[in-house]
């Protein structure tokens, strides 16, 4: 089929047509200009959304911190950087992120191979199991590891071993979290690489290892780099996990921003830290965008289902066994212990305690957090899907130009910018007319949607871009206006991706903690906020209730993901 394409120009000409569109005069220029205008029109809503609910609050809080009497106090930056404590935080943030990334790659890359190239019973179930941690709220992950390695945790009971005073608890929790990122990104591509390429190299005289090194590894390189960068990004900005497991000793930038903002009320230090994190994240995202572009180079991809084989030889069996054991210990055990702990009181005591509102911690019974969380998450999902869907539709054309590509990268920023800053920024910036939302419930879903949008865009964009442009042209020639082309051609094809995107946005919204903790009203806590507050109190009952609430949250997220997993099937994807 593809042979015939070499003759027509649309593919090759795609980039060039844009140049043609730029030239002046000529009768039909208007049509091209109109489609550019339409695309920019689609972008208007997401741009406005990000401007008002992201850039503005962040800018406002930075300005509040760094401006005194209308004058920028840029000297504060050097002051803050000169502080030994802050330098320690920076150093710890960086090295724990690097260590977490290295450890995750070390443990997950064999997993990526096993999922890509080996066929074994229960593979689909296991793939889903491996993915669940990624959508689990950080608070749940923190709680689960507390139950495993913390004081009175499983290891403490068995061998008197406690890791919550060491950095290992944080690193392991980060591996738990990001295992799926590596397996999805690297394994997804690996499973679609044509094994015949390696075979061709071997026919030309390369040994098995040499063939892998010269053919497969270079093809995988960009995917590994992209996965590593995503893991680095997530761990560099880690908040919930470190907040719960780090104790007073370990603090990342994000945790420090939270501390400076909500405990010390030192807004200027928080603002400087926000800027530092912003710069670091921006740099990482720029590199990530570059690897993504590298990854788009033409690789021979084949149907993933054709490349996996039954394990052969002792080596492959050993690898499979090793991966299964590491998955069991690292990914299954912590949540299992969490569940077990939550039932560790007679008559479901912890769960029953959730229904009473006399604990004094909340104005309402903790159980109400479930309803709140679900309501907020549904609204946030709708917002994220609309905003992200519009952005994806506008970004579909690869030749959309530098400006639009830049926006593509900007959409990822909310993943990395301090959620704490965003949350606090909401309170500061959105408190006067015409945008006085301070006491409005919509604030929480808006903040959660910010984090959901990147997932929606990332999920939908590859699918939209895979739609053959000439299918759209066929519809246009048959009389479909651009809007109808989208409805008749694109929408049916992305319906599934849309559902998946919605699922991700839902799970991410459910688990959002950093921003929500600021803006959720005391009488309307979400699940993660309630868990964190329970953990912050002493006493076995509070601890047990935190476990119980975490378990509930985990189940909701896991169910959402398993539904997704059925929809998704075998596909390459970043998340």
């Amino acid at each position: 089929m593809d042979l015939a394409r070499t003759e027509v120009t649309p593919r090759k000409g795609a980039g060039k047509r844009k140049d043609a569109g730029k030239r002046k005069n000529g009768g039909e220029r208007k049509g091209a200009a109109k489609s550019v205008a339409a695309r920019l029109g689609l972008l208007a809503v997401p741009v406005a959304f990000f401007a008002v609910f992201f850039a503005y609050p962040v800018a406002a809080i930075v300005a509040r911190g760094l401006k005194a009497d209308g004058v920028w106090q840029l000297g504060r930056i050097t002051d803050v950087l000169g502080d030994a404590g802050i330098r320690h935080v920076l150093w710890f943030t960086t090295w724990q992120a690097l260590a977490s990334t290295a450890l995750t790659l070390l443990i997950a890359l064999p997993g990526a191979y096993v999922f890509a190239r080996l066929d074994f019973p229960g593979k689909h179930v296991l793939r889903a199991v491996v993915t669940v941690p990624f959508v689990l709220p950080t608070v749940v992950v923190g709680t689960a590891f507390l139950a495993l390695v913390g004081r009175g945790g499983l290891l403490d009971e068995l061998w008197g071993l406690r890791l919550d005073t060491t950095v290992w608890a944080i690193l392991l929790a980060h591996v738990f979290f990001n295992y799926a990122v590596v397996v999805r990104t690297v394994g997804g591509l690996w499973s679609q690489l044509d094994p015949r390429q390696e075979e061709a190299a071997r026919m030309l005289g390369a040994s098995r290892i040499a063939a892998w090194r010269k053919v497969t590894l270079p093809a995988l390189g960009p995917a590994v780099a992209a996965a590593a960068l995503m893991v680095f990004l997530f761990t560099f900005t880690s908040f919930g996990v470190v907040q719960i497991l780090g104790g007073p000793t370990f603090s990342t930038l994000e945790v420090e921003i939270y501390r400076q903002t909500s405990e010390i009320f030192d807004l200027s230090t928080a603002a400087v830290l926000t800027l530092i994190q912003f710069a670091a994240v921006g740099a990482v995202l720029a590199v990530h965008a570059w690897t993504v572009r590298r990854r788009e180079t033409a690789l021979r991809l084949v149907d993933a289902s054709t490349t996996a084989r039954r394990p052969r030889g002792a080596g492959q069996w050993a690898l499979l066994a090793g991966v299964l054991v590491s998955v069991a210990l690292l990914l299954v055990l912590p949540p299992a212990v969490l569940v077990q702990r939550s039932f560790d009181a007679p008559d479901f005591g912890y769960y029953r305690a959730l229904t009473s509102d006399d604990s004094g911690i909340f104005l309402v019974a903790p159980i109400e957090a479930i309803g709140n969380s679900l309501e907020y998450a549904v609204v946030a999902t709708v917002i994220a899907v609309v905003i992200g869907g519009l952005a994806a539709a506008a970004l579909t054309r690869r030749d959309a130009g530098r400006l639009v590509r830049g926006f593509d990268a900007l959409l990822m920023l909310p993943l990395g910018v301090s959620a704490v800053t965003v949350g606090f920024g909401f309170l500061i910036a959105l408190d006067e007319p015409p945008l006085d939302l301070r006491s409005s419930w919509i604030l929480v879903p808006l903040a959660q949607a910010l984090v959901g949008v990147p997932f929606v865009v990332r999920t939908m964009l590859p699918v939209l871009r895979a739609v053959d442009e000439r299918l759209r042209e066929a519809a246009a020639v048959l009389g479909a206006s651009p809007w109808r082309v989208w409805r008749e051609v694109d929408l049916p094809m992305v319906r599934r991706a849309l559902l998946i995107a919605a699922g991700f946005a839902f799970a991410v919204s459910l688990g959002e903690f950093g921003a929500t903790v600021f803006i959720a009203r005391p009488d309307h806590p979400t699940l993660p906020v309630a868990v964190a507050r329970l953990l912050g109190r002493a006493g076995e009952l509070n601890y047990g209730q935190a476990m119980a609430l975490s378990t509930i949250l985990m189940v909701v997220c896991a169910v959402a993901l398993l539904v997704l997993e059925r929809l998704r099937g075998d596909r390459t994807g970043e998340f």
Partner: protein, 344 residues
């Protein structure tokens, strides 16, 4: 004129893919644009359809300038070379698409779908999934889909390009009959001369974005305008010669030329049928270098002693063996004086 292109020019980067093309298509006419890969013929269709903006020039439909008229309002049909059927719709959904876009009622749509599926020889296929169709069936559905909204101009991009040979030959005949019956105005592009000659009232040969020749299939076949067209049509007996009176001096010896050819240097085409094999001691002395079986005849490749090769068409029984030495004479009726290629 139903369709007129005036000075139509499209550039990709610095290269002109369509270079000042002028072309008219009258109502009920079937015009085939013939050219090798990259000659700009697909771009020509896309420009008429409104999928490719022009850098210069105009597209007129029914005399109206189409500048600024988007693809979906031009009322032309385009059949893509790999059909581009909508995979998530069944056959009926595909054929009805254009009618739906024009707001036809359900009843009208159903009736028209039935009518068209009958017409293309797929009665009752409306409920079938697109994926279950063979290549030939997909082609028919694509045709029905393009015809359904009654476009004033139907454009076909390599309509039979991906089908196997026997099916292609059958469908060409069917298409020709169908267009004749419906009175459809057709602009088709193809790189296959057989397809073009079988289908078209008029053939337009394109080269590097320009029109090299335009005429009826017979005219083009008998009198290729220049060396490019001749070679593209598969004629390789092209030779330089100096005309003086009624003969031209060439490396192959003296060739008779049509009366009235001006003196001077010319490029000459000798059709293989005009290369007559005679006894070895007469005419141009050649060795038989190769023979290829062409079904109705044998193409004999001849190597003269000190000139370029030439090809002769021989009846099956008369073909000499490889290595034989033969003499060659030329028939005036099969010799064409070619023009200078445009742009050269």
């Amino acid at each position: 004129m139903l369709l007129s292109l005036e000075d139509a020019t499209v550039r990709f980067g610095g290269r002109a893919v369509l270079d000042a093309v002028g072309l008219d298509v009258a109502e009920h006419e079937v015009v085939c644009v013939l050219g090798p890969s990259g000659s700009g013929k697909s771009t020509l269709l896309r420009a008429v359809a409104g999928l490719q903006p022009l850098d210069r020039g105009r597209v007129l439909l029914d005399g109206r300038d189409q500048a600024g008229v988007p693809a979906h309002r031009r009322g032309v049909g385009l059949m893509f070379q790999d059909h581009q059927l909508f995979p998530q719709r069944d056959v009926g959904g595909n054929v009805a698409f254009g009618l739906r876009m024009r707001g036809a009622s359900r009843g009208q749509r159903d009736a028209r779908v039935r009518e068209l599926l009958d017409l293309v020889g797929l009665p009752g296929a409306a409920g079938r999934a697109v994926a279950s169709l063979s290549g030939g069936e997909q082609q028919r559905v694509a045709l029905a889909r393009a015809l359904a909204p009654r476009p004033r101009l139907l454009m076909l991009d390599e309509p039979l390009g991906q089908l196997d040979r026997s099916l292609r030959e059958r469908l060409v005949v069917e298409l020709k009959e169908l267009f004749g019956r419906l009175g459809t105005t057709v602009l088709a592009v193809t790189h296959d001369q057989g397809e073009a000659f079988a289908l078209a009232d008029r053939v337009v040969v394109m080269r590097d974005g320009r029109i090299a020749q335009s005429g009826t299939p017979l005219e083009v076949w008998q009198r290729p305008a220049d060396e490019f067209v001749a070679r593209f049509l598969g004629f390789d007996n092209v030779v330089e010669g100096t005309v003086g009176g009624e003969a031209a001096v060439t490396p192959w010896g003296k060739l008779p030329v049509p009366a009235g050819t001006p003196d001077g240097s010319h490029t000459l085409l000798v059709r293989p049928a005009g290369v007559r094999l005679v006894a070895a001691d007469q005419g141009l002395r050649c060795t038989v270098a190769a023979r290829t079986f062409k079904g109705s005849h044998v193409a004999v490749h001849l190597q003269p002693e000190d000139a370029q090769r030439l090809e002769a068409a021989c009846a099956l029984r008369e073909a000499p063996e490889v290595g034989d030495t033969v003499g060659v004479e030329f028939e005036a009726a099969e010799i064409v004086v070619l023009g200078r290629p445009s742009g050269a």
